[in-house]
């Protein structure tokens, strides 16, 4: 999926189809400039996300200062999953890489919210647009708070730049 490599852009790696559908919903929000985002084929597991990041995306980040990477993974209620993921990110590139995901898996979130994945994605985008992070404070998402703060600073201007 091509984006304009000469402008800041986001490369998104979803762990699976559920995370892919969440991302689709986010991009369908009217205010999101979807052309600045490239969604990769679902990697097929959080470990695969990290493998893909290391083999395909690390070289891209080294080559292009406009590139940013967002990994969408399931935390599977594992407390140190974030630490495991951060280990593969070189310190000098950490500011360009973001890791988000449901506390367990998106299916649990979907069941609790009684919303389709795309609806959840749109709602998360709406929260970002309005700087009102209601849904992001849901018990299944609240652990993303630190990454979300970084996202708002770095990624939001790329995604919502025409607003």
């Amino acid at each position: 999926m091509s984006v304009n490599k000469h402008k800041p852009h986001v490369l998104l790696i979803p762990e699976d189809d559920a995370n892919r559908q969440l991302a689709n919903g986010f991009l369908l929000h009217y205010a999101v400039d979807a052309r600045n985002v490239a969604i990769r084929t679902p990697a097929g597991g959080w470990r695969k996300v990290l493998e893909v990041f290391e083999s395909e995306y690390l070289p891209l980040l080294r080559k292009n200062p406009n590139a940013h990477v967002v990994m969408l993974i399931d935390f599977d209620e594992v407390a140190d999953r974030m630490a495991q993921c951060v280990q593969v990110i070189p310190d000098d590139l950490r500011f360009l890489v973001f890791i988000l995901g449901a506390k367990d898996e998106p299916e649990t979130l979907k069941g609790e919210l009684k919303m389709a994945f795309e609806e959840i994605g749109r709602a998360l985008a709406q929260d970002c647009l309005k700087d009102d992070f209601d849904l992001w404070r849901h018990p299944h998402l609240i652990h993303n708070n630190a990454e979300l703060q970084r996202l708002v600073d770095v990624i939001k201007p790329i995604l919502f730049q025409s607003n």
């Binding site: 999926m1 304009n4 892919r20 979807a34 490239a38 084929t41 679902p42 097929g44």
Partner: protein, 366 residues
């Protein structure tokens, strides 16, 4: 928004119900021959009735009856919401022995469950109690005039007429036009006539078009019509090389097939934005596009729904399929050419792992 379509005895669509309620954009997938393109032709029946000729034979042929079962009426029903009113239009056709063309068996329009008109063969009954006879080879919807102050028939006719039902053939999109048209042909061959009609009625559409096109064709400078022949116009597209300040103008027909599809998509998005919600069914919108463009192209079309537009796309392309969710994807299946099309949402098919891999393994559609 179209909420539901029901079709019976039309080609492979038998007792076929398509529930679109709550789905502003829908992807239809299925194997070759499963009925995806027939769906577009079914919507086309409503459109044909309201565009030009209302003669039944211009919409339905004897060969359209499922497996030549002409003794069973062919029926089309559509339910839709327009300006907060619920419309239901139904028409059925029959072809008695020794008839050379089908005739209308029944036809009706209700709005919020109030009957606007109903019809049995040649006899048409209006809401006020009056009735008249009409050639049974002609649909009543396009010929009935409403009482002053009522516009239900006009509203549904406008929707049917303006529906965009396309399987574009870029080679037919020359950019040459002699007159404006608000009705886009199924092959999009009259693309420039449609473009000219939109721009003359809604000049603001140019900026929407330009912004869209500039994002996918970065060296686009402008596009314009030049007189050609006695009364024709040729669409020209101008490109610029920013660093050297050089320009190049070429005929629209010289663009690549994919670039023509960018123009078509931009025009559909612009039309939806400036002239009101549209209903678009695009058969394989990813045809002719380079791999990196497919996802963005589909997302842009789906975003029409943010302005109340409605999209149905069919596709076999992995990138397109990945741009929809399990809830917004409908799967058409058909066991054989003697069996009817069956429709279910992708969410009803449990599959393991990656969706595309499951489709390739034939695990989903089967």
């Amino acid at each position: 928004m179209i909420e539901r379509l029901y079709v019976n005895n039309f080609r492979c669509l038998e007792n076929f119900s398509l529930d679109l309620g709550g789905r502003a954009s829908t992807l239809v997938i299925g194997k070759n021959g499963s009925g995806k393109s027939t769906l577009r032709q079914a919507f086309g029946v409503f459109q044909n009735i309201c565009r030009g000729s209302s003669r039944v034979r211009d919409s339905i042929a004897g060969s359209d009856f499922t497996q030549q079962r002409k003794h069973i009426p062919m029926r089309f029903e559509v339910e839709l919401t327009l300006v907060n009113k619920r419309f239901k239009y139904a028409i059925s056709f029959e072809m008695p022995e020794n008839f050379h063309e089908a005739r209308v068996a029944e036809e009706s329009l209700t709005v919020d469950e109030n009957v606007i008109f109903s019809r049995q063969q040649a006899l048409v009954n209006l809401a006020g109690g009056s009735s008249f006879r009409l050639d049974w080879h002609v649909a009543a919807l396009p010929v009935i005039n409403e009482r002053p102050g009522e516009n239900s028939i006009q509203q549904i006719k406008a929707l049917f007429t303006s529906m965009i039902l396309i399987a574009p053939i870029p080679a037919n999109m020359s950019g040459y036009s002699e007159e404006e048209s608000v009705e886009l042909q199924h092959d999009a061959g009259n693309f420039s006539s449609w473009l000219n009609a939109l721009l003359s009625r809604h000049p603001a559409a140019y900026s929407v078009l330009y912004t869209y096109l500039k994002s996918v064709i970065p060296d686009l400078a402008s596009f314009e019509n030049r007189p050609r022949g006695e009364k024709g116009k040729q669409l020209l597209v101008k490109f610029e090389h920013e660093e050297s300040n050089r320009f190049l103008s070429i005929d629209f027909k010289q663009l690549s097939d994919g670039e023509k599809c960018f123009f078509l998509s931009a025009l559909i998005v612009a039309s939806n934005k400036v002239s009101g919600p549209i209903f678009c069914m695009w058969d394989e919108p990813d045809n002719h596009l380079s791999l990196p463009e497919v996802g963005h192209f589909i997302t842009q079309l789906r975003k029409m729904t943010n302005q109340n537009g409605q999209l149905i796309a069919t596709s076999h392309h992995p990138e397109t399929i990945r741009r929809f969710s399990d809830e917004s994807t409908l799967v058409f299946t058909r066991k054989s050419h003697l069996e009817p099309t069956v429709v279910r949402t992708l969410a009803d098919f449990p599959y393991c792992g990656d969706l595309i891999e499951a489709l390739v393994r034939d695990e989903v559609i089967g």
